[in-house]
């Protein structure tokens, strides 16, 4: 265990605390109790209060005892996240097929530096299989782009 809190874990506890506060504030604007029965805001209010309390306790714990896990490089996960974000953003304008194909190709060939021919082949194969299963077999309406896929 390291003696100081890891930045990532502090961020995690803060996300939970903020989530709890947002729920408390929002549920206070809803009906809480009417007659005998709890209303729409009752449970969310309690969940928010409890979550904020628990996240606060975790934060105090982190400052008192530090994190069990130390920091590690986050460059590559951030690159993968950026590629995924670009892939999701491209689904509506470009269509599901091209976006998934490009996402896979970028991850294989650029991020992982795998051989380009193999990358092209696996990216195209995976995209085709996904379209065949979800669109052709299961009849799911996946977003299409100018290429019709």
């Amino acid at each position: 265990m390291q003696s100081r809190p890891a930045l990532g874990e502090l961020l995690l506890a803060l996300i939970f605390a903020i989530l709890g506060i947002v729920w408390v504030v929002t549920s206070l604007g809803m009906p809480l109790w009417e007659g005998f029965a709890p209303q729409s805001g009752f449970m969310p209010l309690w969940y928010g209060v409890i979550l904020t309390g628990l996240a606060g306790a975790i934060l105090v714990n982190l400052f008192m005892y530090g994190s069990e896990n130390g920091e590690e490089p986050i460059g590559k996960p951030l690159i993968v996240l950026a590629a995924l974000a670009a892939g999701i953003a491209g689904i509506e304008p470009a269509g599901f097929g091209p976006s998934i194909f490009l996402l896979l190709l970028v991850l294989f060939a650029v991020v992982e530096r795998l051989p380009i021919v193999h990358s092209l082949f696996v990216a195209a194969g995976t995209t085709t299989v996904l379209i065949l299963i979800f669109k052709t077999w299961l009849g799911v309406r996946l977003p299409t782009g100018p290429l019709g896929i």
Partner: protein, 496 residues
Amino acid sequence: MGPFDDLIQGFIAAATPMNLLMCFAGVLLGQIIGVLPGIGPSAAIALLLPLTYGASPTGAIIMFAGLYYGAQYGGTLTSVLINVPGESSSVMTSIDGYKMAQQGRGGVALGIAAIGSFIAGTIGTLGLMLLAPPLANIALAFGPPEYCALVLLGLTALAAVGGSILKGLATGVAGLLLGTVGIDPQVGVARFDYGQLWLLDGVDFIVLTVALFGMGEVLASCRTAAAEPILNVGRVLPTRDEWRQARMAILRGSGIGFLIGCLPAAGATIASFVSYIVEKKVAKDPSRFGHGAIEGVAGPEASNNAASAGAMVPMFALGVPGSNTTAVMLGALIMFGLRPGPEMFTTNSSLVWAVIASMYIGNAILLIMNLPLAGLFARLLKVRYSWIYPPILAICLTGVISHANNVEDAWLMFAFGVLGWLMKRYDWSAAPMVLGLVLGPLFENTLRQSLTLSHGSGTIFFLRPISALLIVAAVSAITIPLLVNFIRQRRTLAGA
């Protein structure tokens, strides 16, 4: 005629070439459906319903039953191999199953899951055959306070079996909190949608699960993808020692799964959570759990399979669905002009017994198919991780988009994926969050119904014996480990 005579008649009806084919098709389709995130067995049955309009009701229900328990095993494959549970009932399997795969024991994990599923499925079917009418009556004794207490027990016990109780509780409450997004089921008012139409349906289980488990794992592991060692597949059949460790877990899981499956609306998810918790509690060395304990795979797997049989009890005996899937099957029975309920065993006994007999056959098909296939599936682990994680991300994305057909869910998956990565990185358990989301609506509904019934008094939970017992168990699940820790720390300090 006794149940065994009825069963023989059922076997005669189920063993026709057409019904055998329907059973095989159901099991096979179920496995494929279970592997794909986003398409659950209930959605698959709904999709297949139009195809069975011309078929006999017996054949169609046999296929749907096969699909139901086939999907339970399909979810296991992705849980063990890539840490993406295809179904909510496979979440617990992924904890130790994936660790076993990382240790080169992926084949054994899948093998014991197949064997456990077969044994549990057979025990569950036997239970369905012998105990359906009396158990259906006991299940009726569960009112809103008992369900509420049962969910509370599941959440607190699960929070307590993770590494840190505080973090486990926080993620569990966060799951409950996310479960309040969308339309309030009691009064029909929109909550926490912030003006976004796509949030009216709430946060979907599949979005959260795929993000926390699938994306979280990918982001945590991609950093070392090129250097990740190529894992050994290992053997499929367990050794004598492994079998000795797993056999009681399978038996306990079968009993737990069947009993919980009988409760309407409880189903395989709660069954697998409870089974995992029980296995950890009875283990001589609980610290092995979460690090590749075979009981952590055998128990939940047996449990979720037995729950599939248990869920048929209220469906056949009461006309009340035990799970989402049996709700769709119930709709199918009505579509075929049948009336589910207590008279099913008299007016349509040939159909009921043919389905029960087909479940024995289906479980045998599942075992025969999966023992050789387990090794084949586990060979996926021999592929370098650099080639595996991009398709995992693509499958996660496709599953999420296909589920509700909107890209907004993909963005939600992205956000939860970042959260899952941090949780994985700092050892915050994701399972309580998923359980909280899945059970949140049931918990809120039953709590509000209970308080309405008691005119706002919380004493209702303590005046009813079953709910009082469950609440005491829930409180104990949190306080006992805390107390033990406290005493241990005091002793250590005193010793120093």
